[in-house]
Symmetry: C2
Subunit: 126 residues, 2 copies
């Protein structure tokens, strides 16, 4: 059986590949009890979440994962994942830093996203 | 009863106030099953975690929280918290961006940290 680090890495690879390829397909990774907080705005349920993600104001997007950390969640079999990275949209040359945090839970031989929080990160200044 | 947003805010306020004041006192917020991943390095248990935090190579530190998001965790009563912010150490004038992700769980009328992941965030570049 794969360990939580390997599962987290596979999940993250698949998630951003799907996001950058055809983000309507992300619906398969969420369930009715899934939560997304996207730049402070809360959404619940696969349909609402993917509607938000597909309506983001860009056509093309490319995520680059810089760091990925994982820990076992308190719920048996769950995994907490923290990603930092950069994303580029459409033809804007400047990447934006982001952070995203998932809790994924096992179900029917696979995993779905229970918690999902996304924030852009701006350079620190005094 | 306070809702999860209020509890998360109180936790975050208390956590960084304690960290910046006397970080040896953070030991009260962790338990033997707590996990910290600090810049990729894993630690388990209150003693190991606080030993790491107290041995960080600075005397003075000040955290500034820029964003705080919270969601109910999958485990009853737990809360997932995502913080982005900046920190300043000793007399270095330049703040550093960071992100920190907690899962806090209820116990004996209070909360303790089960999951904790910390990363510095560097400005995105192509």
């Amino acid at each position: 059986m794969a360990n939580f680090q390997d599962i987290a890495q596979q999940f993250v690879d698949f998630y951003y590949k799907t996001f950058d390829g055809d983000r309507t397909q992300l619906v398969a990774l969420y369930r009715p009890n899934s939560m997304l907080t996207f730049e402070k705005e809360p959404f619940q349920g696969a349909q609402n979440i993917v509607e938000k993600l597909t309506n983001l104001p860009f056509e093309k997007v490319q995520h680059r994962v810089d760091t990925m950390d994982a820990q076992p969640a308190s719920q048996e079999g769950g995994i907490v994942v923290l990603v930092t990275g950069a994303l580029m949209v459409d033809d804007q040359p400047q990447p934006m830093s982001y952070v995203q945090n998932f809790t994924i839970l096992p179900a029917e031989g696979s995993y779905y996203v229970f918690n999902d929080m996304f924030r852009l990160v701006y350079p620190a200044h005094g």
